[in-house]
Amino acid sequence: MNEHFRIAQKLGLMFRPEETLPTDIKRWAIKQLQSPSPSLGIGNVGSDVKPWPKIFQPSLDEKAVKLRIHWETTKRERKKEGGFTEAAQRANDRDNLMYKKDILRFSHRNVYGSDQLRLRLMSFWANHFTIGSFDSREVIGHAMEEAILANFNDSFSTMLYKVTTHPGMLSYLDNHISAGPNSNQVRWAKANGEQAGLNDNLGRELLELHTVSPSANYTETDIRNAAKVLAGWGIDIKGNPLSSLMDQGGTTNLWDMYKRNWAEPGNKMVLGKTIGTGKGGLKQLTDFLAAHEHTVMHLSTKLAEHFVSDVPNKTDVNYIASAWRQSNGNLDQIHTAVIERAIASKEPKFQLPMTWLFQVLRLSNATYFMGWNEINTSNNSLKFNMQPMQIFDELGQNLWAERQPNGYSSKKEEWMSGEMFERRIRFADSIWTSDSQIQSTSVIMDRIGASKETRKLVESLHGMSSRSKKNQFIALMCSPELMGLENA
């Protein structure tokens, strides 16, 4: 592959046919960090690419309103009030649930957006800060865009705080129901013979996965104290009327929900650092953890494993870590260092199934995801009736799936399975078959500067039939070069 596409593969999502290739690819890559693209997509299969309608990009408040309506309607339906019917339930889901549109918008952005590097980094951080529960799915897309992507030109500590306090994360790791052992809530509960108190789910993963990692040798006391700092943060995002939000948190803003009566009074010690009492304690903790040397090394390694090489060398990791330290965790500087190392390393990087799918779609200019007007209707054209959720489930990589908080591995050994490879063949087939206007294999090969070996592979399947043309397309997309693997 030529240098443009080699770098777009490692760090981005490949250039679409209509995109002009930049003259200086490295400068372009770094400039990407400052070049957001609107959410582009299609309303219907075959219609022009344009920005997503505002009404399908609800704020967290608007999402909360919809969830409240959904929940109230569901309760009435269950009580058989107001003529419960399957149709009413479908209408309730269609009007008030948002995750399907969020996944479609995410997919469209990745296929049509001009900010391919930012989107790759968004997926990396969304996977690092996995929110993987059914209860949180309506706000996962919001967390990705507003807690992660929106903070790219800020610091890691800002991102960490915004993610940690995001209602999706707080409910995924059970923090919204955790109360300090000496809080008013626990006192009242005990007086009434009820159970209330702490759980350490988010406290543990904040240390183990999100920041310092087990290499920091924290103790169970550190974990428990982190959980005490977190106690009081979060609330059930659908079950509470506005008056209850005001009563408990003094605000209706779900992203700033701190229930004083659930908080643990007093200072807490985490990894030797004294964290003060009250709402400000969490920011103190996340700032401390964000700058911790073990966080710097843990995340520099993880970034290098994802973008540079499965087994990054010390130089790669130290280069990123040193940019981290020198900039006090400025994400622009960290990401720039990642870009520089990824370009300097000539090693191919195996592309995970989701990234690969977006790359195939961008290279081939195929329409594969349905339009936003079609998401809740059964499209008559059989070709486009796979829901995005189903597509990612079948691929084996779905940022909206129920899953464990450690997220997907960046290492190829975790993805080397016959079934996973079979899906690549099947998806390449499905993409080719779904869109007859697709870019021809030879045009794609010329544009990316396909290697001799890749051309030989494609040529070996030469034939006049449409089936041969399809097999050539599949072979290109499943070639070592486009999967990011070594040749024979």
């Binding site: 059914f134 790791l173 059970d174 955790s178 109360a179 052992p181 626990v186 159970q195 209330a196 108190g197 702490l198 759980n199 350490d200 789910n201 543990r204 183990e208 996965l209 087990p214 169970e220 070709k383 009736n385 796979m386 079948e394 084996g396 129920e402 899953r403 464990q404 450690n406 975790e414 993805w415 080397m416 399975s417 016959g418 079934e419 996973m420 490879f421 079979e422 899906r423 063949i425 099947r426 998806f427 087939d429 499905s430 078959t433 779904s434 070996e453 030989k456 070996s460 399947l461 097999n471 599949i474 072979a475 499943c478 070639s479 070592p480 999967m483 693997l485 070594e486 040749n487 024979a488």
Partner: protein, 383 residues
């Protein structure tokens, strides 16, 4: 049939299950068959052994567990009971087709899911020390030739050269895989990629029926496949949802009872599928750790150490609860918080391998678990 009502939420949770089959003999290959079949149910998240198998005879049990004591638990003996969601297991215990090992764990005390999950599958001495898994190494040692048929390849089965995974695709507009295409891809890739495409080629020669993806159907499917004349020797099913930090207290089959009922249903489905092959089969659960003895603040339990293991199958001839009970008083708990582990669960796995694959214990101890002095507990389980 499921013994609980499947709500939409549960369906979505359940769909996270995956199945792995291993040790399917190659066509035309004849060799002495291993004496039995082995299936492992991985309980992801850390199962609360004291919820599944309450030690109601312990003087501190009620005091320590409070609201987590299930109301209608099923009695096993004067000391142990079973969670009311484990009805099928209870009848297997009554018919001498199941046993419990309690206060047991892999040798891992640091309470991280991800280190723990790696260790219980890798079977090495420390997390992330092994690139292969204990079941994969066992199959390799037993020289069971052939091909194994999930979406990814779990660590527990790696190390067995011919392993393959299986999870039927549902992708619109994709037709039967073209053999010539796969052969060309196999030739074009380096060793890593071509080994995998080689498996795709074998797969494309199979006709796979359309199958549902819920855990019980997967288990029944696995049982049927294993019961066939040249069927697989081993299978692995992974169940999620055992990380019960919150709301695990309801003894009425809701909350955590739903997850426990999944284990119960999977064992029942294996039995249905295995049919006559049940008689020489062993099914065992593994989990990365147990949980705190005391209930936490959110009606759940946090990560701990000792848990319980469930072993079922016709290869068992006498049901027992095997335990060197450590007690539940504060000073009897591990670090004054978790159920202590007094039995190394690797010994239990070793006994199940010995019984099903016919391998010698010392060989399993040294070559599968790298622990030549691993105690042999075979007689407790199978005599």
């Amino acid at each position: 049939m499921p013994n609980y009502k499947l709500t939409r939420r549960d369906f979505l949770k359940a769909s996270g299950a995956s199945l792995f089959l291993a040790g399917i003999p190659l066509q035309g290959f004849t060799q002495d068959k291993p004496p039995g079949k082995i299936s492992v149910i991985i309980l992801e998240g850390g199962m609360d052994g004291l919820s599944a198998v309450p030690a109601f005879g312990d003087p501190n049990f009620e005091k320590m567990r409070g609201i987590l004591v299930p109301e209608n638990y099923l009695k096993l003996n004067s000391f142990f009971g079973l969670h009311p969601s484990l009805k099928n297991l209870s009848s297997l215990m009554a018919s001498n087709n199941a046993s419990i090992v309690h206060a047991t764990s892999f040798p891992y005390k640091k309470r991280s899911h991800f280190e723990g999950q790696n260790l219980i599958q890798g079977g090495g001495l420390t997390p992330f020390s092994e690139k292969t898994g204990w079941l994969g190494r066992s199959l390799e040692l037993a020289k069971i030739p052939g091909r194994a048929l999930s979406l990814e390849m779990p660590l527990i089965l790696r190390g067995y050269g011919e392993n393959d995974n299986f999870f039927p695709a549902k992708i619109n507009n994709s037709s039967k895989i073209n053999i010539n295409l796969v052969e060309k891809l196999t030739a074009a890739h380096g060793k890593l990629g071509s080994d995998v495409f080689e498996k795709v080629k074998q797969k494309s020669l199979l006709t796979l029926e359309n199958m549902p993806r819920d855990p019980q159907s997967l288990a029944e499917y696995a049982g049927k496949a294993m019961a066939k004349k040249d069927g697989p020797t081993a299978s692995v099913i992974r169940l999620s949802g055992f990380d019960s930090h919150a709301s695990q207290d309801d003894g009425n089959g809701n909350d955590h009872g739903i997850d426990l009922a999944k284990i119960d249903g999977v064992i029942a489905a294996y039995k249905r599928g295995l049919g006559g092959a049940w008689d020489n089969s062993i099914i065992l659960t593994i989990t990365e750790f147990g949980r705190t003895v005391a209930v936490n603040g959110t009606r759940g339990t946090d990560h701990g150490y000792g848990s319980a293991g469930i072993i079922a199958g016709g290869a068992i001839s006498k049901s027992r609860v095997i335990s060197d009970w450590p007690g539940l008083a504060k000073n009897e708990q591990y670090e004054q918080r978790d159920l202590m582990s007094t039995i190394d669960y690797r010994s239990v796995c070793a006994a199940c391998i010995e019984k099903s694959l016919g391998l010698d214990h010392d060989l399993i101890a040294s070559k599968v678990f790298f622990e030549p002095k691993l105690p042999r507990v075979f007689d407790y389980l199978f005599s």
